[in-house]
Amino acid sequence: MKFNHLKRLAALASAATAVSLLTALPAFAQEAAAEAPKLDTGDTAWMLTSTALVLMMTVPGLACFYAGMVRKKNVLSVMMKIFATCCLMTIMWMVVGYSLAFTEGGDWNAYLGGFSKVFLAGMGKESMSGTIPESVFMTFQMTFAIITPALIVGAIVDRMKFSTLLVFMAIWVVVVYAPITHWVWGGGFLGDDGVLDFAGGTVVHINAGIAGLVAAIVLGRRKGYGQENMAPYNLTLTVIGASLLWVGWFGFNAGSAVAANGSAGMAMAVTQIATAAAALAWMFSEWLVHGKPSVLGIASGAVAGLVAITPASGFVDPKGALIIGLAAGVGCYIFSTGVKRALGYDDSLDVFGVHAVGGIIGAILTGVFAVEAIGGTAGLLEGNFAQVPIQVWGVIATIVWSGVATFVILIVLKVIMGIRVSEPQEVEGLDLALHDESLH
């Protein structure tokens, strides 16, 4: 018996040695890769796919989601705003956005990148970003720079001038989006401070949600808000849009692992769980309050869950995702219904109520539920009391810069070119007034 024990011990020891050798090998490989980045075809294939998925979130996903919620006379104008934003952001990202977000900014690197990759200078076929071509990484990030400003459109529908919107978007992506991206993911101060944001809770959702709220307040309410019937034109479009967002979000969250690995897989799993939990939470909240569950409610809840799990997706386990989803479903429901009406602002399609509120809930709860074995950082539940304050710091920094800069840009544009259509145009509907087109 004793001999057997010894034999087992010896076997265990040799197994342990073998395992440690095996685990050391990839470490050596990684060190080698750091010197000369080597393309991983699996990673590259997944990131090509993710990039297409995230683009699908904006066109057609967000375009349908928003267009279905406005009145018939403004449906095309909403689709136009989203589509044009998609095109314009692509060019702005190519010209200067990518460089400002993802290059070394010298003395100002904590706050902003540099101009070394303006017009994508130096990005060739062989350029690498980690284990994937830089062209793929740049385009993946471009789809994030597209959807973030496009999200703001939900707050300004039915009343913002199209020309001013284009100018606003072009400035906003440079002055607000690129810097915040740099802070978190491009080597800036929030990343250095340890803020966890796997796929864009601060960069994308809090940022767009706050900008949307500021824009809705600067623009003022829609004419007839609170009196006229502003029931959605066609909620089937909205449900299709929400569903496309849901599917595309796997590219957003699991793609943010920038690799085809376990981190991406776990991000995908927790995304699905949090989304379903939030959709059910919103549905049941509404059922309790109004007596009936609604299709707009369950679709809105799904988006709220997707938003909230975004910062957490590479850091939490499925149990954390479940709680984050439930919290987002209830929290976003309260802000998009009761709080909005009590405060009287016309955030028309609830960009603040869903994206800022969901983003804040997700960003802070990431600090609570982060699991060291999953994302390398422990959260509050694992005894790391420092992480929640760090997450709050990330939220505050984003709110302040997004809020102040968006406000200043809009006020300047209001003085220079006006931001709101005329009252007769608003009454006629923007499809006809701005685009000479209409639904039949």
């Binding site: 919620m69 019937n229 502003m230 029931a231 959605p232 109004h290 009936k292 609604s294 707009l296 409610g297 809105s300 998009s336 219904t337 009761g338 909005k340 009406r341 609830d350």
Partner: protein, 112 residues
């Protein structure tokens, strides 16, 4: 000749059409309309915003019949369109002076 105008519940249209066809009446004009009577409207709620919808969708049937068939037609429409619930609709009868069939030039009862 009389014009019968009937406002009915949309899902009753096919039954009313069949009942009138059984009487040998050929042709009718149907319009999708909105309105309210004693049934009044309903409330819709979108993310907590409540909207009162006062006008409900209805179907308006217009049919011109020879005076002798008016009573049978009214009876057919009423029995086919009736559910017994509030909102079943109304039937109006009014006189028609003259009718012309465009293709042949036939007039009055011959044109119906």
């Amino acid at each position: 000749m009389k014009l019968i105008t009937a406002i009915i519940k949309p899902f009753k249209l096919e039954e009313v059409r069949a009942a009138l066809t059984d009487l040998g009446l050929q042709g009718m004009t149907v319009t999708e309309v909105k309105g309210y009577g004693r049934q009044k409207g309903h409330t819709e709620i979108y993310r907590g915003a409540e909207y009162a919808v006062n006008f409900l969708p209805k179907i308006k049937i217009e049919i011109v019949v020879p005076s002798a068939q008016v009573d049978k037609a009214l009876e057919a429409i009423q029995s086919a369109a009736k559910t017994g619930q509030i909102g079943d609709g109304k039937i109006f009868v009014s006189p028609i002076e003259h009718t012309v069939r465009i293709r042949t030039g036939e007039s009055d009862d011959n044109a119906l």
